[in-house]
Amino acid sequence: MVADNTPSADNAQETSTPEGSGRARKVRFRIKRCEGPGKPVYWQTFAVQTEPGANIISCLQKIAEHPVTVEGERTTPVTWDSGCLEEVCGACTMVINGRVRQSCSALIDRIAPNDGDEVVLEPMSKFPVIRDLWVDRQRMFEALKKIDAWVPIDGTYSLGAGPKESPETQATRYVLSTCMSCGCCLEACPQYLKEEDPAKWDSSFIGAAALSQARLFNLHETGKQGRKDRLDALMGPGGVSECGNAQNCVKVCPKHIPLTESIAAIGRAVTVHSIAKWFTGK
């Protein structure tokens, strides 16, 4: 099957990664840096030799290997968060040229197509900075706890299949379920505020991501059992009524989740729930 020719096979393997159609050139990166909580913020600029198909990640990797600024000053590698590099884990979210998005899918040839273009990288502003571009999004996961974002199953033993579901309901739930907790919707939201103190997380606006997850679980046959608790959690301070309807969330969502529809659905459900509560006391 494979010719008896090891050197050529190996050589071909080494050079076997076609890199797309762009060309190699230097791109400048202006990066907002900070060594840790309470430390001063400063900016540094790096010039990176990019290769065709380069993205922000591959450029940050090069900076890590050669952490030297355009002034020729040796510095420390830039710290950033990343994982899958194919826009399904949400880790590498940052503010790129003023817009929040994942850095893995930010291809250099598209965001800085011309010679001399500069790319500006900043950490998300709604979450505490750990270091440089790496932020702490723990609050997003705490919000999922607050709204009981799970299906309350009777344990993991074998108890037969789950409820049947129409393809339409599946399609609605599936897109809601692709939320990767990246936080783009929160970064873009004028009502969602940075809270360093976890004690304030409960009373500060919870944001689109968690509201949409509440809708996801309320749509599931078994998940519905927790509906009242979810709506209770979203009734008070920090709940759905604090949405200012700016609709930025839906514009920046990389997974095209219909977040404003979710917010509207939860808003209606909370209204009905609160009226019913007022009448019945339950």
């Binding site: 071909a12 393997q13 050079t15 591959s58 710290t79 994982g83 074998s158 393809p167 739930r173 692709t178």
Partner: protein, 659 residues
């Protein structure tokens, strides 16, 4: 169990979360460690689906036993047969459970779970949620874990790095009683006590530089267990996935489900044909997989598809546009259908390449994808003991055994999926047991969840057992733990002492450069085609890199969130595993599944129908390689041809199209 018993799970992907949920459900508190928030684990990258026998396939002649037989045949007889039988029998129950957890599996018009074809089978037995099945399964388990977290039974340590297993005792009596870990923000290093430790840390794709793996899949955790004395089995069995898009930072997977949903692989028949794909008429296209494997066609297992694509491009120079790439073509399918069934990967291709695969055939090439090998584990066989090993199982035949639990493995036996160190378990991709020499598509998600759920019970039973009762980890003197903390602190000190804050760091001693060179070398020598000469050169190169690494120079001295420290430390562990992979590849003088030796092109059952086991000797820094017999008492090995047209007639009769 006493009130103080705890279990540690390292890794928050499918295997780790399934284990955490199962152990917590039994009332045992779990400390869950992960380099990343568990919702961002590498399992999210799995796309195509999860296999299980189902009613439709069953009525066409499929069975759990057929799934088992396919998996063993696909793995070229190197998998442990007993765990695979148990896994196949549980598969339908695993799907039901995930369904109950709310996974949005694609549905038929009647509301049943939809099914698709996948490699290595002629039956539709793959369940899926769009083309982001792994993400959806992970989220379901993440949600259930969060439920136990809210109840206080699971405590998460996210952004914590596993550094070393803590063990006490020597030889056969050695037991794992906790771990040493480091907070990647504060850089605090401390010990954690546990009566059992589950490693669920995935594969080692980063050893090969650019792979389909996430940035965190460096194999460091498994390499540390290996250096601490855990055996590592079949390291040479690395799966190269046939269809990926090469990129500057990684190779992005284009799921096998693209072919399962009708995708066809082809190149122009005329070498150097520069016409656009849609200008090339049907009879001038070479569907080389369909031609050579009329039964399975584009759905031959991954190792075979990879070698064929590699052969077309590298040896025959028939790649599209003269480059190392072939077409993966879905343009004949309805665009709405593609969006519904494969939306996730359509989007990835559009975002990263810029073309719409509904209109233009994708250009793909193989990339390192999965580690079949991993930490060696043992098990207690179940009740099924045929008098002689069973030959080929054809669809429609009555299976030699029914699908009752307990036939393959003894349910709850404390040693199921346990390493050679008592109390140290390996679940999921880091466990070598399930996939042999090649993993069939859509079996990985299954093996990860099965390990967590089924062997999670084994962990609980181990903790309830005499050994732990007599000396729970909580009761041990602190010296047991302190010496490992000191060992890890010394490593960190050595790295931080090397920091040079001025001037350029010489490439010879730059950790990042060393890691890059390692990736290029391993990709060239230890993937699709291997030969003695090239492997020896590779071993020399890795030795050179290890030598250079011993004088590595770091570029960051920060005592807070020092990512370089973590990366450079893991590079040292990657070098150890790389050396083991290369040496194992050299020792296995045969071709089997994903391991293809040009100089030994045939499978050699007499010499190598055996598990290759690496044992690390810290004193000499050498790898001791030995071979262990495989128990083939359930299925008799047969030639693995998948009905290739030029195979010997007697060898290929087992694989003609049946459906």
């Amino acid at each position: 169990m006493s009130a103080e018993n705890r279990v540690i799970v390292v890794g928050g992907g499918l295997a780790g979360l399934a284990a955490a949920v199962r152990v917590a459900e039994a009332g045992l508190p779990v400390d869950l460690f992960s380099l990343v928030p568990v919702k961002r684990s590498h399992s999210v990258c799995a796309q195509g689906g999860i296999n299980a026998c189902n009613e439709v396939a069953r009525q066409q002649g499929y069975s759990e036993y057929q799934h088992f037989d396919e998996t063993i045949y696909g793995g070229d007889y190197l998998a442990d047969q007993h765990p695979v039988l148990e896994m196949a029998n549980w598969a339908p129950k695993v799907i039901d459970l995930l369904d109950r957890m709310g996974v949005p599996f694609n549905r038929t018009s009647e509301g049943n779970r939809d099914l698709r074809l996948f490699g290595g089978s002629l039956f539709k037995r793959t369940h899926f949620a769009g083309a982001t099945t792994g993400q959806q399964l992970l989220y379901a388990l993440d949600e259930q874990t969060r439920r136990y977290e809210a109840e206080g039974l699971v405590k998460k340590y996210e952004f914590w790095e596993f550094l070393w297993p803590v063990t006490e005792g020597e030889g056969e009596g050695r037991r794992c009683v906790g771990i040493v870990a480091q907070d990647m923000r504060t850089m605090q290093i401390r010990p954690f006590r546990a009566d059992a430790v589950v490693m669920a840390t995935g594969g080692c794709g980063l050893v090969f530089g650019k792979s389909t793996n996430s940035i965190i899949c460096n194999g460091g955790a498994a390499a540390r267990c290996y250096q601490a004395g855990a055996w590592y089995a079949n390291p040479e069995m690395i799966q190269v996935h046939p269809t990926a898009i090469p990129g500057a930072d990684k190779c992005r997977l284009m799921s096998e489900s693209a072919r399962g949903e009708g995708g066809r692989v082809w190149v122009p028949r005329k070498k150097g044909d520069r016409r656009k794909a849609d200008q090339i008429p049907e009879d001038e296209r070479w569907y080389f997989l369909e031609e050579k494997y009329p039964g399975y066609g584009n759905l031959v297992p991954r190792d075979i598809a990879t070698r064929e694509i590699f052969d077309i491009c590298v040896n025959q120079h028939m790649g599209v546009d003269g480059e190392n790439q072939v077409y993966l073509d879905l343009t004949h399918k309805d665009p709405d259908y593609l969006t519904r069934k494969l939306g996730g990967i359509m989007e990835i291709y559009e975002k990263f390449v810029g073309d719409d695969p509904r209109k233009v055939p994708m250009k793909i090439f193989p990339a390192v994808h999965y580690s079949m090998g991993g930490l060696w584990t043992t098990f207690t066989p179940g009740s099924y003991t045929p008098e002689t090993p069973v030959g080929e199982h054809k669809p429609g035949m009555v299976p030699p055994v029914d699908a009752q639990p307990g036939h393959g493995l003894a349910i709850g036996a404390p040693n199921n999926s346990m390493t050679n160190i008592d109390g140290l378990y390996a679940f999921g991709e880091v466990n070598f047991a399930y996939h042999g020499a090649t993993r069939l598509g859509a079996n990985a998600l299954l093996s990860c969840i099965f390990d967590g759920l089924f062997c999670g019970v084994s962990v609980v039973n181990f903790v309830k057992g005499d050994r732990v009762r007599e000396a729970p980890a909580e009761s041990l003197p602190s010296q047991v733990f302190d010496r490992f903390v000191e060992q890890e602190e010394a490593k960190v000190k050595k790295l931080l002492d090397s920091v040079q804050m001025r001037g350029e760091i010489a490439p010879e001693h730059n950790g990042y450069t060393i890691a890059n060179e390692l990736g290029v070398e391993m990709n060239a020598a230890c993937t699709v085609v291997k030969t003695e000469g090239r492997l020896k050169k590779c071993i020399e190169k890795v030795r050179e890199l290890r030598e250079r690494y011993s004088k590595v120079v770091m570029s960051d001295s920060a005592a807070w969130s020092n990512q370089s420290l973590s990366f450079v430390r893991a590079t040292g562990d990657m070098l150890v595993i790389a050396e083991l992979i290369a040496k194992a590849s050299l020792e296995r003088e045969e071709s089997r599944g994903s391991h293809y030796r040009l100089d030994f092109p045939e499978r050699d059952d007499d010499r190598f129908l055996k598990t290759l086991v690496g044992e690390y000797d810290p004193a000499s820094d050498e790898h001791k390689i030995s071979f262990r017999e495989i128990d083939t008492s359930l299925v008799k090995p047969r030639p693995r041809t998948y009905g290739r047209v030029d195979a010997k007639p007697q060898d290929k009769k087992e694989a003609v199209a049946q459906s």
